[in-house]
Amino acid sequence: MIPVNAIIKEVIKETPTISTLKFDIKPDAIPGQFVMVWIRGVDEIPMALSHPNGITVQNVGDASETLSNMEPGDSIGLRGPFGNGFELSGQRIMIIAGGVGAAPLLPLAHQLRLKGTKISILLGAKTSKELLFEEQFSRSGEINVATDDGSKGYHGVITGLMDTYDLNSFDMFYVCGPEMMMRAVLDMLHTNSLESISQFSLHRYFKCGIGVCGSCTIDPSGLRVCKDGPVFCGNILLNSELGKYHRDVTGKKIMF
């Protein structure tokens, strides 16, 4: 599959560093799947679908900056949707989102809500202005926020917020956020023997995005984040490289 053309219809500034781009096509995706976004002449990068017809981009470098600065009428190339996506299950579930990690979790919350699932959302960010999709999430369930600087909600990391819940009353945990936050959440779930009812959406360096090149594989399973993931069950990740190291574009291990 070669990239399909998508024309930007709308750009929504979500936070000082994060924007949502809506385009003229709706890839037929399930929550948690991603697209490879080709910014012509610049780069191609993976992005979760945060909306049926949209992505939500944090400006962290070259490609994401060019994307963030796009205007309606500009166009990009899209390959996908790729990856496994979340498995929708559970009656009483918890969504744990950190930073731009909220992106793949928003369509998940919408779909679970439609199924009548009871949802608790824990939303974290560095500071209150960077909280992503707070309003949208709150329409799908009960929401609780945490900020590193205490500018809103719980002051501290998201695992602190988790402590205020009876985790055993949930039957599925959906998690996406910065690597160290995901590791902390996983460890906490593990302490409660809950890792096997959790799903984590991972980030690794993608080149092909379709399971061929091997740049995104994780240790020790050798699973491909782009094809076997990006969503993995917590028990697969427990003894994995998650939170220890990842590999850079050359394949070299980089410690967190």
Binding site: E44, S75, K207, C208, I210, V212, C213, G251, K252
Partner: protein, 304 residues
Amino acid sequence: MTYPELSIELTGLEMNNPTILAAGILGTTGASLKRIASAGAGAVVTKSIGAIPEQGHPNPSLVALECGLLNAMGLPNPSYKEFNDELMTAKEGDIPVIVSIFGSCCEEFCEIIEGLEGADAFELNLSCPHSQQYGAAVGTDPVLVEKITRAAKTTASVPIWVKLTPNVTDIVTIGEAASRGGADAVVAINTIRGMAIDIYSGYPILGNLYGGLSGAAIRPVAVKCIHDLYRALDIPVIGVGGVSRWQDAVEMMMAGASAVQIGSAIYDNFTVFSEINEAFLTYLISRDLIIDDIIGLAHRRVEQ
């Protein structure tokens, strides 16, 4: 699983079966290579490794076309120094691990060989079609091919395979050069130069503008190269290019391949190794054949 019917000896390496993971496909980490071993491959070839870290070309670096894949990874690798760890892990898979290596001169190849002691064999990548100074840049020149092969052979204590590019007027000339240099086997073929353009914008799709075509599209080209090399050389030919079904593997062996490598087919089918091996076993048993009966059969048919 090990079936005596499928076991082969290839340049001194014992293999459970004649299917091998091709270079550059899921060969970045030791864990990934181990996973391919569990999936049934008889041996694995690693991603091509160089002397210094390489980032490779910018993305997009691989797209699937209607027919085959087009890629320009650009040989990203962390250098052999970083790769030793991965190699050690890969070897836990208990099948031969062949390290693909590339360089721009004899010295570089030898440095890498000396730096990777655990390799069961080396595959010299003299054939990557989309790397400026490596790969096909040296692989189209028979004099260089012979020289590098000889240097590698002298340095290494394990078998040397030489991987050839089809992007030449006459692949046999290059194969002969490798053979003269002392190669234990040749591997044919690497990808064919190709390009795709985005018709919405006019931009070439690959970050590197062009790349190499692999997959089903190139199988007939690979079969022809293997056929010609088998006729001309006395060393084994290892077939690669577009194998995705047991029939393809049989076809390549009939053309002259002693074993086949599989790359792009992984895209659709992670179980391709075990599927091919099982069907191949049934084929052999039901016809009361051994592998040697079919290797090069096309040549014997025509001589009749």
